[in-house]
């Protein structure tokens, strides 16, 4: 009997993972403990080690496929051994083009919350072959049954394929990523929406859909902050970033404005006890928000070190599952890109996100008519207006402004 390699559960909330890369190929010898495959879950890439000695007999889940937890990935066994259900698995299709149907006991029909989808056997087969999610295809057959023609029409107008068998795609309907009707033009490349990009897409769309957000922009004179930072760095021989001071200031402001730390849960409001600030880190393939937990209790030094470490590990996919969960507030800093103001999207379940913009030189005229050069930075605070009122938000912004314009107060 060949051993089955299954999708591991890499975190409590993990439901599925994407096969990113097979380290071992079919026919290769495998020892227990060898890394055989890389899996991306949510926002994390993990290496899966073999539990068995033997030969990689058959790779069932192809690179790019989303496989549910405990779903079959591969068989390891003796060379020449036949593997039982391997034949039942559809042949692998080029990764970038289609999502082969996963031989997991979760036909999309069965998990559709709205009940059984009426679809002809032929249409079902065709949809599977072409990787068409037919949950939203309108049927033209008797009693609204989806027939093959409907699938072909859907395929023609929606070459971007959606997964047909991933619980995430089905259980959280996300029209933003469902197959649309996009005409392809010459040279277009079609890739599967998967892994981190898929999660980001889902989260952003969900937040935008659910949250009536308001953004307030506040201009802050950071001339003193910039000087203060320079002096501290010189005096102490450290390298605190502007961001470190901002984090510290925000932490302090939050501690004094706890009503910003709220979460709406149905008909309940959760008042957060902890000041856990998520820090958006841009990656090549998306975005990740590691969390500085209980940041209000951290010194500037601790904040600086933690932020640096988290960002570094985020960029190298080395974050632990729990390190990007549990935020109660988030900060997105686009200052280094020269962004003047923006409109960040609330990172649910938080109710507020602070966009930090570029530091710019501006001329200022004082009461006496003297003109001087000052450094300004804008913050863009986006909040869930269901729970946070405009004035409440403004007070919070003022608190930040107060701190950043009087940097000594940040440390006091």
């Amino acid at each position: 009997m060949a051993f089955e390699v299954k999708m591991p559960q890499l975190g409590l909330t993990m439901e599925e993972g994407t096969v990113t890369r097979w380290v071992k190929k079919e026919g290769e010898a495998v020892k227990a403990g060898d890394v055989i495959v890389e899996i991306t879950t949510d926002k994390l890439t993990s290496e899966v080690e073999s539990e068995f000695d033997g030969t990689m007999l058959k790779i069932v889940a192809q690179e790019g496929e989303d496989i549910p937890v405990k779903g079959l990935l591969a068989y390891i066994g003796e060379p020449g051994e036949t593997v039982g259900s391997a034949e039942a698995v559809p042949a692998a299709a080029p990764v970038a083009e289609t999502t082969p149907v996963v031989a997991a006991p979760m036909a999309p029909v069965a998990v559709t919350t709205s009940g059984r989808v009426r679809i002809s056997p032929l249409a079902r087969k065709t949809a599977a072959k072409m990787g068409i999610d037919y949950a939203n295809v309108k049927g033209s057959g008797p009693a609204g049954r989806i027939v093959q023609k409907d699938i072909l029409t859907a395929a023609q107008s929606a070459p971007v394929v959606a997964s047909v068998a991933t619980p995430a795609a089905v259980s959280t309907p996300t029209p933003a990523i469902a197959s649309g009707s996009i005409d392809l033009m010459e040279g277009d490349e079609v890739v599967k929406l998967a892994g981190m990009r898929k999660v980001v897409a889902e989260r952003m769309a969900q937040s935008r859909r659910e949250i009536p957000s308001v953004t307030q922009n506040v201009k802050i004179d950071v001339t003193n902050l910039m000087k203060f930072r320079k002096q501290v760095n010189e005096d102490l021989g450290v390298k605190y970033s502007v961001n470190d001071f901002i984090l510290k200031a925000v932490a302090k402001a939050l501690k004094n404005n706890k009503h910003i730390l709220v979460t709406l849960d149905g008909d309940k409001i959760i008042k957060r006890a902890h000041v856990n600030v998520g820090m958006a880190v841009a990656l090549d393939e998306g975005l990740i928000v590691p969390v500085l937990k209980d940041i209000d209790k951290m010194s500037l030094e601790e904040i600086s070190a933690t932020a640096k470490d988290l960002a570094e590990r985020a960029r190298t996919n080395k974050l632990g599952m729990d390190e990007y969960k549990g935020s109660t507030f988030s900060i997105s800093n686009l200052g280094m890109f020269g962004v003047e103001t923006f409109d960040p999207i609330v990172n649910q379940p938080d109710s507020g996100i602070l966009g930090v913009c570029a530091v710019q030189d501006e001329l200022v005229m004082d009461d006496e008519g003297n003109i001087s050069k000052r450094q300004f930075m804008r913050i863009s605070f986006t909040f869930d207006h269901r729970l946070i009122d405009g004035a409440t938000a403004a007070k919070f912004e003022l608190a930040i402004k107060e701190l950043l314009e009087n940097p000594m107060k940040i440390l006091l």
Partner: protein, 326 residues
């Protein structure tokens, strides 16, 4: 080169050619000799081939069908006619328990190369005991081959093959087709048993049918073509052995199927074919297989009643539209 003959004459021609070719071919049945059959199929045969080869039997269907089995086991090739296929009830034992089973029960020793010609079908206002299509009984019985041609050319070629076949062949002839005049090739030819024929090509739906309903299917197809619906008409011609490859080919092309026959719908061979398609071609189907058959009633006498009891082109058109949701 071709000629035009009525289907009954085409059947007669096949019998005549086979009797001339093989002196072991004999004809048994009511009124087959002096009269030359009630449909004139064997007129002149007895005079030409002799009384020892063309028999006017008494009205003893069980007896002469049983005798045909015995004679066939001896190497004779009897072509027996039951005046109506309805009479199979009185000749059921020799066909179902004897002819069909003899080869198997004797471990392959015996062959029963007989043909039972079975005029069948509704439309002649002959009421309950002279109008049935009973192919399901024969198709159900292992050991019998079953042929049900629609055209003159097919009837001739298939009957000649049936006479030459070493198994008992039930040759079902629709009475309402006898007078139909059609073109058929000159000279000798045979059509192998077990080969279906696409009578009309189409892309949207396959009508699997046989015998007289082939014509109704073609009429319906013509009507539907005007609306842009292209129906394929697959004439099975032989019901056992079934040309499954032809069914697979057609269904794989059109993905929608109607099985059309004049039988009583309940327990029909049409139902059997429908089940096989559902079992084996499930993934090819865009809609459930539809049976279009007669009603589950006794064949009525009065024209208005009888016409209710078998599918007409309009019924077929309606069924096609139902399947395609047009």
């Amino acid at each position: 080169m071709s000629k035009v003959l009525s289907i009954s004459k085409a059947i007669g021609e096949a019998l005549h050619e086979e009797m001339a070719r093989d002196e072991n071919v004999i004809i048994l049945g009511e009124d087959m000799g002096k009269m030359g059959n009630v449909f004139g199929i064997t007129v002149g045969f007895q005079k030409e081939f002799g009384e020892h080869r063309v028999y006017d039997t008494p009205i003893s269907e069980s007896g002469f069908c049983g005798m045909a089995v015995g004679a066939a086991m001896r190497g004779i090739r009897p072509v027996v006619e039951l005046m109506y296929d309805d009479f199979i009830t009185v000749a059921a034992d020799p066909i179902i328990n004897q002819a069909a089973k003899m080869r198997y029960m004797t471990g392959g020793q015996a062959t029963v190369p007989m043909v039972l010609r079975l005029p069948m079908g509704a439309g002649r206002r002959n009421a309950g005991q002279h109008s049935q299509c009973l192919e399901n009984i024969f198709c159900h019985t292992p050991g019998l081959k079953v042929v049900a041609p629609s055209t003159a050319a097919d009837a001739k070629g298939l009957l000649k093959s049936a006479v030459r076949d070493d198994d008992p062949v039930m040759f079902m002839e629709h009475k309402l087709l006898y007078a139909k005049k059609e073109e058929l090739p000159e000279g000798e030819y045979t059509i192998p048993l077990g080969v279906a024929d696409v009578k009309k090509e189409g892309t949207d739906l396959t009508i699997i049918t046989w015998s007289r309903q082939v014509y109704f299917a073609l009429e319906a197809a013509e009507e539907l073509a005007k609306e842009g619906i292209h129906v394929e008409v697959l004439d099975l011609r032989t019901l056992v052995p079934l040309d499954w490859d032809a069914i697979v080919k057609s269904v794989s092309k059109t993905h929608n199927v109607i099985v059309l026959s004049e039988e009583v719908k309940r327990g029909s061979y049409a139902g059997e074919i429908s089940a096989q398609i559902a079992e084996e071609l499930f993934d090819e189907l865009d809609a459930p297989v539809e049976r279009v058959c007669g009603l589950n009633i006794v064949s009525p006498f009065s024209p208005t009643l009888e016409d209710e009891n078998f599918p007409h082109p309009a019924d077929i058109v309606k069924a096609v539209k139902k399947v395609l949701n047009k």
